[in-house]
Every structure is written in C-alpha cells, then in structure tokens.
Symmetry: C2
Subunit: 504 residues, 2 copies
C-alpha cells in the first residue's frame, strides 16, 4: 500500500467509524452470533497475495460488525464505562502513525516527556499530594500503564522489594527466600479479580477480607488479620484499598486504613480504576482524602475519562523501589542522560512502550478539565435518575447507588431477579450484568456510553419493567391474579402504562 | 467534538501521517532536543476549557515532532525493526473506533474469534506443529500478547504451575512454598533483558549461561548447570531458548536443547521475537526445527512482520496451565459458552484486551504471505549488501551477520570502535547502537525501516567511513601520516573517494 492509497483507506476508515457512531443507538447492543460464528466466514489460511483495502473494509462490515458488542451504545450498561472519544481515537491513530517504541528517553524524547507532563496534569487535576508528582523534588512520579491489573501487580513487586530490603537491614542473616515465602497481602472481598490475580502472579497470597455492610474494608478487620498472620510467623506486606469497588462502587476510607498500614509498615496501594476521574470534581474529591497514607495510587482514564483503552495512570511516592525491582540493564539500552528524565521501562513489566500520552494529551486539551467534569456529572445525574425510577416501583429495591452505578433487585427470592436478568439478556435490547450484595443476587446498572441520554435511561427502565411484569405483575393489572402470583405492591407510573396496555 | 468534527480531524490526521511518512527520509533520524525540552513548551496544568483540534494538531508539529526519534526513517539502524505499515495503522484506528474491551467472548465475539483465526493463520504460515494451534483438537492454542516480555513471564508462571502440580503428585507432602522457593530457570547470556526480568517478576532465579562462540546455548552447558543445581537441592523448571538473540541474532539449536528439556521435564520456551517472521520463508524455516520439543513459542509480528506495536504472538501446547495459574473467576465475568471459545483473559496478565487481531488481519490480507516474505528477503539482502561493504574495507571486521543484522567493528582496540560510534552519534545522520561480541565492543547495524533502499545502505556506510577516516585514516590518503596514526590496511573504493577528496 503506497502513501496515496493510505490517504484513501485512512479517510474511508474515519468515515466508517463516524458512520458507525452515528448509527450506534439503532444497533442491537448485543450480537446474536453463536460461538464459532467466524469459523465459516474466514478462509483457513492467510492469503498468498495481497488484497485490496476496499475488499477488507467490506469484510469488516460483513464479518466483524455482526460479532461486535457495542460498548458505546447508550444501551450498554454492563461492567463500568470504557472510554471512547474522538480525540482519543485520533491520538491512537497518530501514535500508530509515528510508530516509535519508547523504550528509553532517546528512543523518542517526546514519548517520555509528554508522559511526564501529562501525569503532572492529571495528578494536579485530582489534587494528588505533591510528593506523587513527577514535578516534585523527591523520588515520586507518575507513569502510564496498560491496566489496573498491571499496576496492582507492579506495586506488589515494589512492596516486596521494599519489605525485603527493610527486613534485611534489621536482620542481615535473613535470606531473600526466607522473607519472600512469608509475605502476605490484603484487600477486601469486594475488590476486582485483578487484585487476587496480582497475588497469584507475584506469589504473595492475597487475603480477601470481609467488607462491612457498606462494602468497605475497615481498619479493625485489617488489623485483626494482620495480628493473626503475624502470630503465625507471616509477614504482612501489601494492602490494596478500593475507591469504587467493581461490584457496587463502594469506597474504602483511607483515613481509617492508612494509619494502620503506616504503623505496620505495609505498602498501601489505592485502586480507583473507575471512580478516580470523579475526583476531578471538587464535590467528590473528599473520597480521595487519606491518599497521603498511600505509597501508590491508580486510576484508569480509559474507564471514565474519555481516553480510549489502554491508559491506566499510576503514581508512586518512591519510584526507586520499582527501578530496583525491575532494572536489568544491557549495553544496548544504555543512555547518557540518567537522572534528567525517567526511564519508564524500569517502572513496568515490558520493555517497549506505545505513545499513550498522546491520546491523553488530546483528550485533556480538547475537553479541558471542565469537559471531563461535565461528563462525570452528567453520568452521575443519569444514574440518579435511574435510581429514582427503580425506587418509584415497590416491587424493586435499590441495593446500592454510587457514582454512575445502581445495583438493584426484585424484592423476594433471588430467583426472581435471576429470571429478570435472563429475560432481559434474551431480548438483547440492553446489556447489564449481575452482581452480588450481602449475599443477594443483584443487577448492576451502570451508565456507560458517552452519548447516553435521559431517554436511554427511560428505555432501559421500560425494558426491566416489561420483563418484571412477566415475573411479578403489577398489582394494578389483572395478569398477576390470572397467573396466581402474589403481587407485591404498588408500581410506578411507567408500569401502570404497561399494565393498562396489557389489560386492553 | 461532534461526529462532523471528527471526520475533519481524523482526515487531517491521516494526511499528517501520510505527509510525515513522505518526508521521513529528509528528517534527521535523531532529535536534537535535550532532556527536559518539553518542560518549557507546555503549560503546567491541563486547560480548564476545551481547545480546537486545529490548535492541537499544530502543536503536534511544533512540540512533538522535534522530540521524535524517527524509527521508520531509512537511516534508523538501531535495535531491531519495529513494525510500521499503513494497513496496521488503519487497523489500530478502527480498533480504537470500535473501542470494545475484549474481556470475555461475550464482550465482543469478533474480538476473540478473529484472534483465534489469526493465530491459526500465523501458525500455519510458520508451519508450527499442529498441536500449538487453536484449530487442533488438543489443549494447545495461540493468543496475542503485548510483548515478548509479557510472554516470557506468563510462560514462566505456567511452567511454575506445571512443576508444582507434577511434584505434588509425586510427593503430596510437599507444600507449594517448598517447591516454589527452589525453582530455577535457564537461558543464555545472549538473551534479551526481558528474560532476566521475567525471572525477577516471577521470583524464579534466571541463570544466564555462557553461550558458545556462535552465541548459542548448548545442551552440554545447560545439562551441566542442571546437574549442579539439582545437586544443591534446587529444582530446574524453565528454559528460554533464543531464535535470534538481541545482540547478534544467534540461533539456539532446538534439536540440541530440546531433548535435555524433555528428559529433565523442564518447560522449554522458544523466543523468536524478531527472527520469527523469517520462518514464513521456506529457506529459513529450518531454524525453527526442534520447536516440537517446546511447550511454548513466541514471535513478534510487531517487530518484522509489519504489524504495528503491540502484537506479540504466543502459542502453547497446553493452555490449561495458563488458565490454572491465572483464573480468578467472578460473577460479573461468568459466561455460558465455556469450552466453545477460549477466554483469553485467563491466558494473560490483564483482564482487558484491545482488538489487536484486527491490525494483524489487515496486514495479512493486504500484504499476503508473499508480501511478508518479500519484505523479509529484501531486508536480509540489504543487510548482506552492507556486510559486503564492511568486508571490502580492511580497517573493519564483520563480527556476525545474521538475518537483517550485521555486527562489526574497527580492528584493534575497542576504543577505536567506541570513538567511531560516538562520532556517528554526534552527527545524528544515522542511528545505530552498540553491542558486545566475545567481550569486544561492536556496532550493531540493523536494517529496520520498511522503506530502506540500497542507497540508504550506501549513505550509512559513507557515514561510518567518513568518521572512521578521522580515527584510522585510509592508508592511501596522507591524512594518517600527518596525524601520526598508523594506517591498518587497504581501504575500499568508497573510502578512496573520501581520501582523494580530502587530499585535494
């Protein structure tokens, strides 16, 4: 493909994406393909000779599009939002266009330096303590990683490094193996699976301690666990606190946990993967209070901050522990500017690095801080609107509501809610996933797409209502009596509409 | 930014990339900025309100471009090639445009299924043994990872899992900790730093055994190390063989190493990050012989196969060890199609996944197998041409030449070659990096850019010659005598030209 063809293909692809996004609301959010669908549509081997881009682009439409789950459809309410914005898409494309691999400062100074600057911008936007920032005097700093999973793991390794060093200073006769075999980590049972995985990857058992009734890990529970482990000769090392858990978006209280971690010399890592973006709004910043107790902090601009996946922002108070854990220098990587710019390859798992700072820069400049705040506030308002709809119907109960996430269920046996979720899934008009809260089965409803509007929330609620009607009919209709199912209570105005239509 | 603005911005960016690539030959390959250059050019904080894309694109030109090292300049001969092609760039953009996160089959069936198919296409192109392929009956399969670093680490963890399971079956009284603390891994001292890093990350000491005079790890050296470790009560577990080492592109002989690994029940991982693409050419496929002894194999389409970073292809004979090492299931990730399509999140570190299969598909279709073979052969021919130039000048010696990489030096003391490299670096006309071979300092000259031509090789050679002339003048000129430096031998025709010009 020559440059001229690239101009044509690239622009056709831009139009394809634009058209896709303009029609995304009308597409069924979930695909209807079965596992193995692609098998029949593709040749078994790569073609021997090249094909035209026009043919390939047609096949994207024919083969790929039917197998996409439309994460940016306003009817996508599963997981948490994953970021998607036009500035970020163009940033990703230009990064690919330059195609450098930022494995050292010299390998492309702009890669490292824009990342340093963007991590300062982000950190200031969240009012992170100065000592976390690259622009501070000390050994702290920020870096872009690929995911919160990587971050949690990388910080675990740094914590291990620090603990080994600390204990060997006190007891020089201890071997690294003696110490490493006894290290132990903690988080709450509400933490993301990636936290447990970090323990597996790093060979440090991760105790998932019971959260309180608000989904929070408390200092007293943590302290109990620490005491028990110490009594058994284990060495507490690492704590992962959650600001915005995956199941219910619960917030650990850092002012509660932090002093324990500091006193016990545990590395406190704070994971705010989703909710971190909200700390850019003054009204939510208090949830980050106590972060000064932490050694590391992470949130994902690729979740709520409109920067396409992947872009996970991580800060540490002392980057030297990372560098010491990972540094495997070779002659072909030697540079002559040590100390003047960070060598980020020592801060992460891989050697190579994409230019992820570019899309971050594009988003921050083209949205501005106010644009991001507006986006956060809009999504929270939509979630609150959904919550009000759920509360208006007595058959339902809201279990939790926090940020852009509402967890709710049908009152009564879990089977009712499971049944509801199944019905909704089968219709494929909206996409939600299950969760658990206090051992009860709940439906997680997250406001995800950037283009979700109030009418989309109404649409989703109608979807739940219409299916709930089949399970627990509204007492105002006559369907319930016919089916012999006891109606639970008064239902909402929206439900009344369904009832009256059904009664006709 | 609305959709219409995205159309304009996206197309302007396509043109920007196209223009960049059309002028890349004329740009100095290395930037002339100093560490910290960006600090003065950027505000200290993110803007409060959004700015126009036109302003941002202008700033890319003003701020970013001067800080880029042009990896795709035909004067870039450092490291190894990193892939860059127009189909891949558009693939990356469309992947960002769809913006799904492939954390499960249901999260976007096309993501998983295209990856399954592409890993089959690639595996067949390389004539990998059937048992590695997704389309085989057994538990083997291929997956796209972000980097060879990740792969080497992930396979180390799977090897650990397998060894623990194996030993506990024989000795149920052994604890996991007993075993894990004694595991040991091996590779050659020629392996990439990422191999040593994998050992650090996975808490398994990585012995870097001395390679032979051709840069290869031999079975006898490996066996010696294994015996010594076993005698000390350690448990040999994991071997990383290199097909194309980073320093000199040396190839371990898998038919030599493989039987030892099998006999000793070590997990043999084969890393062909750069050279793997060449196995698509029948004349180089023999270098992969013996891969049937391996448990896992990896090469990076993002190096030589024209698929932009990141895209690292990994195959395993038995994926169950990965799944068992990493599986941390949660209710919000449950799916109902188990067994019909792989859940790739259990094959890797992170939970989320980009749609990297798309750019791979674009490249394979638009180049075809023949296009990739042609690219490989062309770059090898250019390296051989460079080698012939070096050999034509008696002041130089070629230390190794393999695939697209030539390592060479000035005869005599290492300081001469170091001096040469320094001078060449200072001029910033070409970019090469140092290496070591047999304890001697060498210059690594790799043919990297897709658009490198014979004239670019001539240009690079002239660059070396002109600077060598200042260090070891050609005996035919009179400059050497004036400076009192002993000339070493006859020089090439190209050098003669310089000499005669200087003598004028």
């Amino acid at each position: 493909m020559d440059v001229q063809e690239f101009r044509e293909f690239g622009k056709a692809a831009v139009d394809y994406i634009a058209d896709y996004f303009q029609t995304i609301r009308d597409r069924p959010v979930l695909p209807s393909v079965q596992p193995g669908y692609l098998d029949d549509l593709l040749p078994k081997e790569a073609p021997q000779t090249g094909e035209s881009w026009q043919d390939v682009l047609q096949d994207v439409d024919r083969i790929i599009m039917p197998g996409l789950t439309h994460w940016h459809s306003p009817n996508f309410h599963a997981y948490y939002p994953t970021a998607h914005s036009f500035p970020a898409i163009v940033g990703e494309m230009m990064s690919a266009g330059f195609g450098c691999v930022g494995l050292s400062w010299m390998a492309s100074p702009a890669y490292t330096e824009l990342e340093v600057a963007m991590m300062n911008w982000l950190g200031k936007m969240l009012h992170l303590p100065e000592e976390f920032l690259n622009c501070s005097e000390g050994p702290g700093g920020g870096v872009i990683q690929g995911s919160a999973s990587e971050v949690t793991f990388v910080c675990l390794l740094a914590a291990k490094e620090r603990k080994v060093k600390e204990l060997r200073q006190i007891n020089p006769e201890l071997t690294e193996g003696d110490i490493k075999g006894k290290l132990i980590a903690y988080s709450s049972d509400q933490s993301n699976s990636s936290v447990e995985k970090a323990g597996l990857l790093g060979s440090m058992p991760m105790r998932l301690l019971p959260a309180d009734d608000k989904g929070r890990l408390t200092a007293s529970v943590l302290l109990d666990a620490i005491e028990k482990d110490k009594a058994q000769g284990l060495i507490p090392c690492y704590v992962v606190a959650n600001l915005g858990t995956t199941p219910t978006c619960a917030f650990d209280d850092l002012n509660d946990l932090g002093p324990v971690c500091n006193k016990e010399q545990l590395w406190l890592h704070v994971d705010a993967a989703y909710a971190g973006t909200a700390f850019s709004c003054p009204e939510y910043r208090h949830l980050l209070n106590g972060v000064e107790y932490a050694e590391s902090f992470n949130f994902n601009p690729h979740k709520w901050m409109l920067v396409n996946f992947d872009c996970s922002a991580m800060w540490v108070k002392d980057a030297r522990y990372l560098v010491e854990a990972f540094n495997v220098e070779r002659i072909y990587l030697k540079d002559n500017h040590k100390g003047l710019a960070p060598e980020y390859r020592h801060w992460q798992i891989s050697l190579g690095r994409r230019f992820r700072a570019l899309k971050l820069w594009f988003v921050l400049r083209m949205y501005g801080v106010e644009g991001i705040q507006k986006h956060v506030r809009n999504q929270i308002a939509l979630a609150q609107y959904f919550e009000s709809l759920v509360r208006s119907d007595d058959r339902f109960q809201v279990c939790t509501s926090s940020m852009g996430l509402v967890c709710f269920r049908l009152k009564g046996d879990d089977r009712l809610t499971k049944n509801l979720l199944e019905k909704v899934h089968q219709r494929r008009n909206i996409y939600v996933i299950p969760g658990q809260f206090h051992q009860r089965f709940v439906i997680r409803f997250a406001v995800c797409s950037r283009i979700t509007e109030r009418s989309d929330i109404d649409y989703a609620w109608q979807e739940f209502l219409s299916q709930a009607e089949e399970i627990v009919p509204c007492s105002k209709g006559d369907i319930g009596e016919k089916k012999g199912i006891a109606a639970i209570g008064l239902c909402s105005a929206a439900c009344e509409k369904i009832c009256s239509e059904k009664s006709k």
